[in-house]
């Protein structure tokens, strides 16, 4: 059983193997960028938006609203990062329904790369927000004894992100493959539909957690170590001091 698309070498360029993960990632990137370029060309303020532009505006504004509810401020750079995470993972997981398409998120290399990106982005956003000294000071708070634990906690967050996403996507693919061999007619369809739902949920969770981590780093830098951020809720407004992840 094929568990990861990393092992599928589609072609080689100058002896460099291109596996399905990279190629499928390029396909997803081409789709995202191509649709964006087509829709957003020749934008004019005095012309009412068409349905495609309206759809993109709804998506972008929803992302922006979610992120602003977490960060409690206008943070476009965070939105570029977390929004791209969401769109990439969501489209990748949605393309699970395309026969023969292996989503890149089913590769531990991809999820590890995304988790590593988050792991690097968190201190970068924190340093950019409050400066290097203030960011590093949070590792020795409330006392210097906590330094190793804070470092371990920082890395464990990235690892958990990567494993969570990989596990969910890969498990959906594996379950679909197993059910396909057991009952090839009905269950794989149901499991694929369930996979669409869990894929969107995973994209949401991954990007929201990344936003929360970044917001945590920037908020600590700005408010001298007081951790206060919230998980957005669809039906209720966020409460201050809500559950921390």
């Amino acid at each position: 059983m094929q568990l990861t698309p990393d092992d599928i070498i589609l072609l080689r360029i100058w002896g460099f193997p291109l596996n399905a993960t990279i190629v499928n990632t390029w396909i997803i990137m081409a789709l995202l960028v191509g649709i964006s370029m087509i829709v957003t060309r020749n934008l004019r303020a005095d012309v009412p938006p068409n349905r495609w532009r309206t759809a993109l505006e709804v998506i972008v504004q929803s992302i922006q609203t979610q992120i602003e509810e977490i960060t409690r401020k206008s943070a476009r750079h965070v939105m570029y990062f977390a929004g791209t995470l969401f769109l990439f993972i969501a489209l990748s997981n949605l393309l699970l329904v395309v026969p023969g398409f292996l989503p890149p998120t089913a590769s531990l290399s991809t999820t590890a790369a995304l988790a590593f990106s988050v792991l690097v982005a968190v201190p970068l956003f924190g340093i950019a927000s409050g400066g290097l000294v203030r960011y590093l000071r949070r590792y020795i708070e409330p006392s210097a004894i906590m330094l190793p634990f804070n470092i371990i906690g920082e890395f464990s967050r990235g690892i958990s992100l990567a494993i969570r996403l990989y596990g969910n996507v890969m498990s959906g693919a594996v379950i679909a493959a197993i059910l396909l061999s057991v009952a090839p007619f009905f269950f794989p369809v149901v499991m694929n539909m369930l996979g669409l739902l869990t894929g969107l949920i995973q994209a949401y969770i991954f990007s929201i957690l990344a936003t929360v981590y970044i917001s945590s780093a920037t908020a600590e830098s700005e408010s001298s170590g007081i951790r206060e951020y919230s998980i957005p809720h669809q039906s209720h407004p966020p409460r201050s001091g809500e559950e921390q992840r």
Binding site: L3, D6, P49, Y80, F81, S107, S117
Partner: protein, 251 residues
């Protein structure tokens, strides 16, 4: 389950490239477009607000103007009504005065006409009465009125002979005045009668068209009148009474 580190590095590069590409082709255009549209909407809303303020100001101005015009219109109407009432009162007073004046003129005219008619009636009546008397006297007694007057006067003067002579004093002439010339027989009768009463006086006959029918004798400071004046006056009085009774009975 393994991690291909080359793939990880490639995916990191892919992801960073995707972030930049989406930032370039998705987020910025969309968000800038939204901001521009919101700015455009805000600008239009501001313009609409300004236009609404101007419209409200214009509305208030026109409303004040309308109120002012209505007030002025009321004042003009009241003034016009007052002036028209004054004009009407003046015209009515003038018309009333004219009417009263015309009524007075008319009454005066009527009174004049009435007086003229009555005097004409009296004159013609008295003339007719005198004519009838003359005719009746001539038809029944074959005598003129003047002859009858002269004859009757002679009988009435005899008892007054002394008083008449005393009144004549030293007068040498007696004057007999009639409206119409006396017939010769009447003159002679009058001369013979007066010669008996006043032998020293000569007699002269004159006429006066303004005098009533009859005879007036003047000698010295005395005057004896024997005319139909009293009868005419009585006739007039009776005629007046009759007309007054007729007019009151008609009223």
């Amino acid at each position: 389950m393994s991690i291909d580190w080359i793939t990880v590095i490639a995916q990191i590069a892919n992801f960073l490239l995707l972030v930049w590409l989406l930032k370039r082709f998705l987020y910025r255009p969309i968000l800038d477009g939204i901001d521009a549209r919101e700015a455009e909407i805000s600008r239009r809303m501001a313009e609409a607000g300004e236009a609404q303020k101007k419209a409200e100001a214009s509305e208030n101005g026109y409303r004040n103007l309308k109120t002012q015009l209505l007030t002025e219109q009321d004042a003009v109407i009241k003034r016009a009504l007052a002036e028209s009432e004054q004009e009407r009162d003046a015209l009515l007073a003038d018309a009333r005065a004219k009417l009263e004046q015309e009524q007075k003129d008319w009454h005066r005219h009527l009174e004049r006409e009435r007086t003229r008619f009555i005097s004409q009636l009296q004159r013609s009546g008295s003339e007719t009465l005198l004519e009838l008397t003359r005719k009746a006297l001539l038809d029944l007694a074959d005598e003129t009125l003047e002859e009858a007057i002269v004859r009757h006067l002679a009988t009435r003067l005899r008892p007054l002979a002394k008083d008449l002579a005393h009144a004549a004093g030293s007068a040498k002439e007696a004057v007999v005045t009639t409206r119409d010339p006396l017939p010769e027989a009447a003159r002679q009768k009058m001369e013979s009668e007066l010669r008996l009463l006043l032998p020293d006086c000569s007699l002269r006959f004159t006429t006066d068209s303004a005098q009533s029918p009859g005879l007036v004798l003047r000698v010295g400071g005395a005057q004896v009148a024997w005319t139909v004046d009293s009868y005419i006056d009585e006739f007039d009085a009776r005629l007046d009474e009759h007309l007054a009774a007729r007019s009151s009975g008609r009223a």
